[in-house]
Amino acid sequence: MEKELRTDFLGVKLSSPLVLPAGVLDISFSSMKQVSVLGAGLVTTKSLSTQARKGHEGPVVTEVEGGMLNAMGLCNPGIEAGIKEVHLLKEAAANDDELSGNCPVNMSIFATDKEDFVSIAEKADKSEADFIELNLSCPNVMDEFGVPLAASEQMVAEIISAVKNVTQKPVIAKLSPNVTNFTKIAGAATDAGADALCMINTLGPGIDIDIEMAKPVLSNITGGMSGPCVKPIALRLVYECRKAGLNIPIIGMGGITNGRDAVQMLMAGADLVGVGTAVYYRGPEVFRLINEELLSYLRRKGLDSFQSINRII
């Protein structure tokens, strides 16, 4: 089994192409370790900010047809505590028979301006994480033309270059799908020196309404959409990056729930595949299950590794 799913990502050996994305079962080292043991090749921390954040008041999640809306509010224990959790995770992994020390970690960080991104990245650089992921999906307007950060090629590029300057670790840019010019942003991120792209962050956002009380269900009113129904759009954005000629490694995610979805994501052009909301539908075992489903696909098709799966382009 391991042979066929093993891969190398930016110089780090992963036991599977499956990735735990930022925001799902990743606040504490324990959850991340559990997910690694269950079969994720790479785990991402909750997006970390300078200071701890409590996040939004509840309700913070609501299930909708085909997926889920969440407005966690980027709750996180802060970069310092996050670094400690990664330390504990690496320590626990070193002592774990099943992992035998192999537990690659992607540290997600976010800020609302370049300076903060840089100062957090400087700290993340000294952590035991293998990669640094920049959550660039901030809908706040930060540039002079009134364009939100996530949609500003220039801001995205500036933040990436600035972070690249302060870290030796590979830098992954996590992109928002909620922009008109997605491939341009992806291109700008690539040109600015990102080592990989991670797509997609949550879609929308969307609203759910309680018709008995005529109230938005989420206390934040809107929440980002994830889960099976965002998959077609995630596949399209990955595909379009490839069609636009971007040659950078891509972690593709958005609604991946089973082996078939994962194969689709690889066919769209992803190198690794994130699995987040599916934990809701199939439990943390989803990683083990999708690994098995991927393997059975490979066997049925007579392929000897997931890398030999054809892309549609």
């Binding site: 324990s30 709750c75 309680d210 909301t277 809701y280 943390p284």
Partner: protein, 295 residues
């Protein structure tokens, strides 16, 4: 197909238990097991977990109860609401208490009711109410009510909830507190652990529910080989097992999914039990600091 259905409905009834504790009832048909909880919101900022303290059939269909202590913003808002006001709930969530003969047992030997099943139900503060539903289900499953003993632990007489209700079930109810004006019938002057110790191991199962420290204090008095289940509280956000907020260390057991009812083998592995909890941000807050902060 939505798995996680939300029910927005009027409060069917409010019962004042003490000045600080009220039971809120709803007419709603859920899949409920003792030990499980619901998430409750008034869509006014905040959605909080509450254990189900009762679930019974009435002439208006099923009636679900949660028993709530006024503690902070959210619970205070609830205490300003009236019968008929709308709130919204989802659930029931999480693992449930073991009922002999039911399939939710991790322990083969209990799959059919042992003749001598003699449990102690030990609840502290608002940990007690879910034990009421448990007691009812145990009796429904055939456990003689005379075999069931309840220790209600609290700060003082006022904190000793549900005495009448448990008595109606015919189970023995011992109120344990360190400050009691009268230490008469069914009262024990001391902690929950001391009350348990006073039973002199004349029990073969312990259910406990309440603050970590209370539950932890029981452990020395539970003999080796006696199974127990503790009902845990951790910070809940999603309640559907995805956000990781309620995960315990070191193996990531989620209190909203694998919990809140954990078995002895699970509890014995916890490193945070009675030591620390995580807050809304995921930061670690140790119990000693918490206590210190409160004093």
């Amino acid at each position: 197909m939505i798995k996680d259905k939300r029910y927005t409905l009027p409060i069917a009834e409010i019962k004042e238990e003490t000045t600080e504790v009220r039971t809120f009832c709803f007419n709603v048909n859920l899949d409920v097991e003792a030990g499980q909880f619901i998430m409750l919101t008034d869509f006014n900022g905040g959605e909080k977990p509450f254990s189900i303290s009762n679930y019974e059939s009435t002439s208006d269909g099923k009636l679900l109860s949660v028993t709530i202590k006024k503690i902070g913003n959210f619970t205070s808002r609830l205490f300003e609401m009236f019968k008929g006001d709308l709130v919204s709930i989802r659930g029931a969530y999480g693992s449930s208490f073991f009922i002999p003969g039911k399939d939710n047992s991790a322990n083969e030997e209990y799959h059919c009711l042992p003749k001598d099943f003699k449990p102690v139900l030990c609840g502290g503060g608002f940990g007690l109410p879910p034990l009421y539903l448990l007691a009812r289900h145990l009796i429904d499953a055939g456990v003689p009510s005379s075999n069931i003993r309840v220790i209600a632990a609290g700060r003082n007489e006022e904190a000793l909830l549900f005495e009448e209700r448990f008595n109606m079930l015919g189970v023995s109810y011992i109120g344990a507190a360190e400050n009691l004006n009268n230490s008469g019938h069914n009262r024990f002057l001391g902690t929950a652990a001391e009350a348990l110790a006073s039973f002199d191991t004349d029990f073969n199962f312990v259910y406990a529910s309440g603050p970590d420290l209370m539950m932890k204090s029981l452990i020395p008095f539970i003999p080796n080989g006696v199974e127990y289940q503790f009902l845990f509280e951790r910070y809940m956000k999603c309640a559907i097992g995805i956000c990781g907020s309620c995960a315990t260390d070191p193996s990531g057991i989620r209190i909203c999914k694998e919990g809140p009812a954990l078995w002895r083998t699970q509890v014995e592995k916890l490193q945070d039990f009675g030591v620390y909890k995580r807050t809304a941000s995921g930061n670690i807050e140790s119990f000693t600091n918490r206590l210190a902060g409160k004093k």
